[in-house]
Symmetry: C2
DNA sequence: CCTACCGATCGGTAGG
DNA sequence: CCTACCGATCGGTAGG
């Protein structure tokens, strides 16, 4: 594992991408969201996928391997989104606006994975957990930089940027926890309401 | 249990309040916060309290009993705080301001219990879980009523009140997750920053 | 409050 | 991908 991470040319032992593996990860995200990682069992997961528990191990290395795949998969999506955002030449306020709607898009497209990533990451083993936390810290720093730039040019009111960042992110993270695509509020209204709330809240 | 809830005069079987029980609940809140409910074991809890696992059962009925005691204990505190707030004759904006600072006070006074209540409640058994959800729903409705009153009298900008309520609560809930009393931001700055953010965000 | 212990269930492996 | 199974550990009880 260590060798594989340091030298990505060496493939991890025997496990590859496959439709089956993707299906296992998708069902696992749903299960982990419902019960939490620790209370989810491989037997229940296997049942939902339509396999025996032992057969899962042809597609995944361990229970923690599934969690890591979900968390890092989502972290990469958020990371790519942030990289795109940074490449655009727009004002900090406009950056924050787009960040909000991109977050909502991802949270609604991957509701289970987003919740698992945010609330189950601590169950990864030490090495993965530290690597994951480093990614998240970098992401949070990029948001703080946006806020600081806006405070410097006077478009954002002076305030503790870390508190603003956490307030913003927590409002967005919990979308997936209460949003039910069928019978609830349309995405556009969510986007407008949260954007207005946050932008009004931070504007100078 | 059902009888006890309907008719509180009948005491629940044999377990009473005691210093020891309070200590177990306090250590359990810390453990559940660290590992989550499902990944916390009675043996580790017993170890932290300084007992054998079997001895815990002289003070609590079951693992779920501990979780329920923590969740309902906190729910009562939030409920009492809300009742006090409703009794005061102040404007909706002023109510929301006080609600925010009361939330921050409770989150900083009971950081472990607040996180456990918010993120582990779903591990209670059916009956307790439903009773707990009813309490929370009522609490959320009271906040929505505040917001609606403010929108009616023109002091709060028109927006979907449920989204505002969830955004507000999630900003506050996650305080305990990243606030470290020693080396971080003073409470007053947190209070001011979050109050400004939310009040500016919702004001007309 | 402890020693001793139980049935159930867990993640995972062997071997085909 | 399944049958068969393992060692470990879980929440909880009996009895003192």
């Amino acid at each position: 594992m260590l060798v594989w991470y340091i030298c990505p040319m060496v493939a991890p032992p025997k496990i590859k991408h496959s439709k089956r593996r993707d299906e296992i990860l998708r069902m696992a995200a749903q299960l982990f969201k419902e019960k939490g990682f620790a209370a989810s069992t491989m037997r229940v997961l296997a049942d939902r996928v339509g396999l025996e528990a032992a057969s899962l191990y042809n597609h995944i290395r361990s229970k923690e391997d599934i969690l890591a795949a979900i968390c890092f998969g989502m972290a990469e999506r958020y990371d790519a989104m942030m990289a795109d955002l940074q490449r655009e030449d727009i004002s900090p306020i406009e950056q924050i606006k787009r960040l909000i709607s991109n977050h909502i898009d991802l949270a609604l497209q991957y509701p289970n994975e987003t919740i698992v990533m945010d609330s189950e990451w601590s169950h990864m083993q030490r090495e993965d957990r530290q690597r994951y936390r480093a990614l998240i810290s970098r992401y949070e720093s990029q948001i703080i930089n946006m806020l600081n730039t806006g405070m410097d040019n006077g478009s954002i009111a002076l305030a503790h940027p870390r508190i603003l960042m956490y307030s913003m992110l927590s409002s967005l993270k919990w979308l997936g926890a209460w949003y039910h695509p069928k019978r609830e509020i349309p995405k556009e209204e969510i986007n407008k309401t949260i954007q207005d709330l946050i932008i009004m809240g931070i504007s100078q």
